[in-house]
C-alpha cells in the first residue's frame, strides 16, 4: 500500500507542494500537489530529488551515529558522550576566551524554521553572543541589507503567482529556468499574456533567449547600468512625480549622483547600447504594472548592496509598489534561506527582523528567555577566515547544515581556517568536505524525516511533514541543540516543533498569526500576518507605506566600482559561478539521487566561448586545467556560443571541479557577500586526455572513500 504525505520540496525557494509516496517505510516516488506557487507542477528536482533519503551512497554516505575525533580519527560514540564532550568543550572555550570566540550557523536547507529559531536562541541565550549567521551571507545578504535600507523589508515585495499578471518584467542577473523552473513558468506565462520581458545578463541564458530585449552587459558593470537607467528616468522626466513627492525621499541627492551616468557614458563601461538603455527605461516607465526580478548576478559582487538599492530606486521612481503584480523580487535560491533569515539566523537581528541593538526589543527577548543578551552585532560568516587566521579571535565553530569548504569562496583558506580552530562541530545529514575537519559530528534527521515549517521565496510559511523514519541513530536538529543547551546549564525541553513555533510567534509581531492551524487550512501563510484572523500578505507596502522608520522609500545611487580582481596577462579570462538545473547547492542531496546524478556528474563543466576554445586548442568535452591565484582544478570544457569571449562560467556543485578553489574572497563592504561572479583565471589544455580522465576517476574514488561510501549500510 502506498501512502501519500503532503510536504514541500527541499530544493529551491519556489516552495512547491508535493506528495511523497511511501511504501513499506521507504519513499518510492513523488508527485506534484496543488500548491499556491506551483499549481500541480514540479521541476526535475521535485520529481526525482527524493532518492537521497534511501542513502544510495553515490557521492557520500549518510551520517548515522555521533562521532568524536580521537587521536586524529573520527570514531563513533554514544549520544551521551557526544553531547557531554561538546558541552564541556564549548563551556571551556567560552570561559577562557569569552562568548564572542564562538561562531554558529543557521541552516537554509532541510532543518526548517524551528531548528533555526532554536539555534539562534542557543547562540544568543546560552553562548551569549550574536555570532550567528548562515549561507544567506553568500547569496541574498545584499538583498536583506539593500532592500531594508530602501524599503524596510528585505524580502520579495510581490508574490510568485503575481508575476504572470504583470505588464513588464525587468529581469536582472537572474536565470530562472535554471534556478527556479517553477518561477520561470510564471515568466513564460506572463509573456504569453502579453508582458514585455527585458533581461540583462552577460550570458545568453534561457531567459535572455525568450526575452523581447536582451541587454548583454559586461560582467561586473551592474551599477553603471542601473545608474544610467535612473539617469534616463530623470532626464526624460519619465518618473512618477506625484509618487516621488509623496512617498519617496532623497530625490535631490539621487538626481545629482546619476547625472554623470548618461546612456552614452554607461555604454562605454557596460557595452550596452545607449539606445537600448533608453528604450527599455521608456518601456519600464510607461507600463502600468512593472516588476523587477533579480538574483545572484546582482548579489554576488563586491558592489552588491549598492546595486540592490539602485534597482529598488527604479521601482520607487516609477511608483511600482503597493499594488498586485508590481515591485521588486530577490528570488531566494535555497528552499529555506528566506526562513533562516526570518528566524534571525543573522548577526544583527532576532527572529522577525528585530534589531539586536534596540534596547526595547532586547528587553523583550531577555524577558522571554530569562537571560541577559549581548547588545552588539555579531560576526559575519564570511569574515571568519580573516578573524581566525589574521586576528586569532574565533576559536570554535558550530556548523549546522552547511558545507563551507564547498560553498564558500577560496576553499583553501576555509580549510586552513577550520584546521586552525580549536573546536569544530558539524551537524548534518551527509558526510561532506567540511565534516572532514570536524572534531565532533552530530548526525541529524533529514527533510522527509521530520516536521517543521519552511518559508518560500515570497514570504510564505508552509508546513513540511515527516514521511519516513530516519536510519541509524540520528535526532532532529532542534532536539540535538536543546540537549546541548541543557547540558550547558540552560534547560530547553520542547515537546515538538509546534511548541517552538508558538514561542517564536509570540515574540515576532510580523509572524504572530501564522499558526500551524492556519497553515494547515490555507496551505500556507505569507507574512506579515499580525493576527490569527489576518489572511496573510501577498504583496507588501499597501497604501505605499514602507517599513522604513519614517514610512518613506529611500532613493540611492553611488559611483560604479570595477570588480576587485581584473584579468591580466597571466590570468586573462574571467570566471563566474552559476547553477545547474538538476543540481542543488553543495550537491550532497542531488548528488545522491540516481536520476539527477546521472544527468550530470563529476568533474563538472566550464562554459567557454568558441573563440577562446579555438585559440587555446580545446575541443568540446575535453578535460581542461583551470588556474587562479588561489588554486587549480580540472573540469570539462563545454563550448557554448551563448558565452562571450573572455568570460567563463562554472557550476559550483561539483566536488572535483570545485570552482570555489578558484574564487576570490573580496567582499561587499556592507553585506560581506563574496564576489563569486567575477575573478581572473587562466585555462590550460591538457595534452594527455586519457591520463587526465584516469586521474579524475581516481580522484572521485578517493573522494568517495573519504566520504565513507561503502562503509556499510545499516
Amino acid at each position: 500500500m502506498k501512502n501519500k504525505v503532503l510536504t514541500i520540496c527541499p530544493y529551491c525557494g519556489s516552495g512547491c507542494h508535493m506528495n511523497l509516496l511511501v511504501e513499506d517505510g521507504k519513499v518510492v516516488g513523488a508527485e506534484p500537489a496543488d500548491g499556491r506557487t506551483n499549481e500541480g507542477n514540479l521541476c526535475l528536482k521535485g520529481h526525482y530529488g527524493w532518492d537521497f533519503l534511501n542513502d544510495p551512497q553515490i557521492l557520500t554516505a549518510r551520517l548515522r551515529k555521533p562521532m568524536i575525533r580521537k587521536e586524529g580519527v573520527l570514531r563513533e560514540v554514544s549520544w551521551e558522550e557526544a553531547i557531554q564532550f561538546t558541552a564541556e568543550k564549548l563551556t571551556a572555550i567560552k570561559e577562557q576566551y569569552g562568548p564572542d570566540a564562538i561562531m554558529g550557523t543557521g541552516s537554509a536547507r532541510g532543518p526548517g524554521n524551528e531548528a533555526n529559531y532554536v539555534m539562534q536562541k542557543f547562540m544568543r541565550a546560552v553562548i551569549g553572543t550574536n555570532n550567528i549567521d548562515h549561507c544567506a551571507r553568500v547569496c541574498h545578504g545584499p538583498s536583506v541589507a539593500g532592500l531594508t535600507y530602501s524599503l524596510g523589508d528585505g524580502a520579495m515585495s510581490n508574490s510568485i503567482p503575481e508575476i504572470e499578471d504583470t505588464d513588464l518584467l525587468f529581469i536582472f542577473g537572474y536565470n530562472a529556468p535554471v534556478t527556479h523552473p517553477i518561477v520561470a513558468r510564471r515568466i513564460v506565462k506572463a509573456k504569453e499574456k502579453g508582458a514585455t520581458i527585458i533581461v540583462s545578463d552577460p550570458r545568453k541564458t534561457e531567459l535572455a533567449r525568450i526575452a523581447d530585449t536582451w541587454l548583454p552587459l559586461k560582467g561586473g558593470t551592474n551599477m553603471a547600468l542601473v545608474n544610467a537607467f535612473g539617469n534616463v528616468l530623470i532626464e526624460e522626466e519619465l518618473y512618477d512625480k506625484d509618487y516621488v513627492a509623496n512617498y519617496v525621499e532623497g530625490f535631490a541627492e539621487y538626481k545629482e549622483s546619476v547625472k554623470k551616468y548618461t546612456p552614452e557614458y554607461a555604454e562605454t563601461i557596460t557595452g550596452v547600447k545607449a539606445n537600448d538603455i533608453r528604450k527599455v527605461m521608456r518601456q519600464y516607465a510607461k507600463s502600468n504594472k512593472a516588476m523587477i526580478l533579480y538574483g545572484m548576478g546582482v548579489c554576488q559582487f563586491a558592489q552588491a548592496v549598492d546595486v540592490v538599492k539602485g534597482l529598488a530606486s527604479l521601482a520607487l521612481l516609477t511608483g511600482n509598489f503597493g499594488r498586485p503584480s508590481v515591485g521588486i523580487g530577490p528570488v531566494r535560491g535555497q528552499n529555506n534561506v528566506q526562513g533562516s533569515c526570518d528566524m534571525g539566523a543573522l548577526p544583527n537581528v532576532y527572529p522577525g527582523y528585530q534589531s539586536v541593538t534596540d534596547p526595547k526589543i532586547r528587553k523583550k527577548f531577555e524577558k522571554a528567555w530569562g537571560v541577559m543578551l549581548p547588545d552588539k552585532t555579531g560576526y559575519h560568516l564570511t569574515e571568519i577566515p580573516h578573524l581566525v587566521l589574521k586576528e586569532n579571535k574565533v576559536k570554535a565553530y558550530y556548523i549546522f547544515g552547511e558545507d563551507p569548504v564547498q560553498s564558500d569562496p577560496n576553499a583553501a583558506e576555509v580549510r586552513e581556517t577550520l584546521e586552525k580552530m580549536e573546536f569544530v562541530i558539524v551537524q548534518d545529514i551527509f558526510m561532506n568536505k567540511t565534516a572532514l575537519h570536524a572534531d565532533v559530528i552530530l548526525p541529524a534527521t533529514s527533510w522527509g524525516e521530520h516536521e517543521g515549517v519552511y518559508s518560500s521565496a515570497d514570504r510564505g510559511f508552509q508546513r513540511i511533514r515527516k514521511a519516513v523514519d530516519p536510519p541509524g541513530d540520528v535526532k532532529p536538529d532542534w532536539q540535538i541543540i536543546s540537549e546541548l543547551s541543557t547540558a550547558m546549564g540552560y534547560p530547553m525541553s520542547y515537546k515538538n516543533t509546534e511548541e517552538i513555533w508558538d514561542e517564536m510567534r509570540a515574540l515576532c509581531p510580523k509572524f504572530a498569526g501564522a499558526s500551524y492551524k492556519r497553515m494547515e487550512e490555507q496551505g500556507g501563510v505569507q507574512w506579515p500576518c499580525p493576527s490569527e484572523d489576518h489572511p496573510g500578505t501577498p504583496y507588501l507596502y499597501e497604501g505605499n507605506r514602507f517599513s522604513t522608520p519614517n514610512g518613506k522609500g529611500r532613493l540611492f545611487a553611488c559611483e560604479w566600482r570595477a570588480p576587485l580582481e581584473q584579468p591580466d596577462q597571466e590570468y586573462p579570462l574571467t570566471l563566474s559561478t552559476v547553477r545547474e538545473v538538476g543540481h542543488y547547492s553543495v550537491r550532497t542531496m542531488t548528488g545522491n539521487c540516481r536520476a539527477l546524478s546521472q544527468l550530470s556528474d563529476e568533474p563538472g563543466n566550464i562554459q567557454v566561448s568558441p573563440v577562446d576554445a579555438s585559440s587555446l586548442g580545446i575541443t568540446d568535452g575535453q578535460l581542461v586545467r583551470i588556474i587562479s591565484r588561489r588554486g587549480r582544478i580540472v573540469a570539462r570544457a563545454q563550448i557554448s556560443d551563448r558565452v562571450k569571449a573572455g568570460a567563463t562560467y562554472m557550476t559550483y556543485h561539483f566536488w572535483i571541479g570545485a570552482c570555489n578553489e578558484l574564487t576570490g574572497d573580496a567582499l561587499d563592504p556592507i553585506s560581506k557577500t563574496p564576489e563569486y561572479k567575477y575573478c581572473a583565471i587562466r585555462l590550460e589544455r591538457i595534452p594527455d586526455q586519457l591520463r587526465a580522465e584516469e586521474k579524475v576517476r581516481q580522484q572521485y574514488e578517493s573522494l568517495r572513500k573519504q566520504m565513507h561510501v561503502g562503509a556499510g549500510q545499516a
Binding site: 516516488g29 507542477n41 514540479l42 520529481h47 526525482y48 532518492d51 533567449r209 544527468l599
Partner: protein
C-alpha cells in the same frame, strides 16, 4: 481508435521550453521501471537514456523527438523489420534490433540514438559475440536503437506517480494536453513544468487551423 487517422506525435513549443530536461528524465524513468528506476532500494548504475533530446543552440532550446512519420524512413531501411507501425505509433522492437544504425542515419529528425541495452539494471550481454575487455575476451553488451514510442506500452496502465503517465487533464496538465484524443498523456508532456509539450493529433490540428483560417476571412 487511433487507426482511423494519422499517427499522433509530441511536439514542443520553443517559446515555452526552458531547457530543464525534466522531460528527458521522465521519459527515462517511465521506460526503465524494469531496470529498477524509481524504485527505492539499491542503486541503479545504468546511464540516463531518454528518447527525446533537449537541444540548445544560440537562439533555440527545445526537445526533439520522433514524429511518427506515416512513411517512416527508419522502418524503410531496417533490414530486420524491427520497426513497425503499431496502433498509431512507430515503434522499435528492441529484442529484434541488431544495432545496425541504419535507422539513426535515415531519421531526418535525429530522433533515434544507439545505446547499450539493459535488463534488470544490468548490461544485456550477447550470447556469442565477444570483445577484448580488461585483457580478456568477454561477452559484448548489446547495443540497440532507442526512440520515442509515445509511451506506447506504458500508457495502458497509466499511473500518476512521478514520471509515469498521468491521466489527461490531471492536475498538472490543465486540459491543454488532451488534444491527442483524450487518452493518457505521455510522460514527457505530463511532467513538463512549462506545459511546452503537447501530444498532437494532426487531424485535430488541421481542423483547428481550417477553422482559424475560416474565421480570419
Amino acid at each position: 481508435m487511433r487507426k482511423e487517422r494519422p499517427n499522433s506525435f509530441v511536439i514542443a513549443e520553443a517559446g515555452k521550453c526552458i531547457g530543464c530536461k525534466a522531460c528527458e528524465l521522465a521519459c527515462f524513468a517511465v521506460h526503465n521501471r524494469d531496470n529498477g528506476v524509481a524504485a527505492a532500494v539499491g542503486t541503479v548504475t545504468m546511464p540516463v537514456i531518454p528518447r527525446l533530446y533537449v537541444i540548445r543552440t544560440d537562439s533555440f532550446t527545445m526537445p526533439v523527438q520522433c514524429r511518427h512519420c506515416e512513411n517512416a524512413p527508419c522502418a524503410g531501411v531496417c533490414p530486420v523489420q524491427a520497426i513497425v507501425q503499431e496502433e498509431g505509433a512507430i515503434t522499435i522492437d528492441e529484442d529484434r534490433c541488431i544495432g545496425c544504425k541504419a535507422c539513426a542515419m535515415a531519421c531526418p529528425f535525429g530522433a533515434i540514438s544507439l545505446y547499450k541495452a539493459y535488463s534488470s539494471g544490468q548490461e544485456h550481454k550477447q550470447p556469442h559475440l565477444r570483445e577484448q575487455l580488461n585483457g580478456r575476451l568477454e561477452r559484448k553488451t548489446r547495443v540497440i536503437a532507442y526512440k520515442c514510442d509515445l509511451c506506447h506500452d506504458i500508457a495502458s496502465d497509466g499511473n500518476t506517480a512521478s514520471g509515469e503517465i498521468a491521466g489527461a487533464g490531471a492536475v498538472n496538465n490543465s486540459g491543454s494536453l488532451t488534444e491527442g484524443g483524450g487518452g493518457p498523456v505521455p510522460a514527457c508532456a505530463s511532467v513538463c513544468p512549462e506545459q511546452a509539450l503537447t501530444l498532437v493529433s494532426p487531424s485535430f490540428g488541421a481542423s483547428r487551423s481550417r477553422k482559424a483560417a475560416g474565421l480570419r476571412l
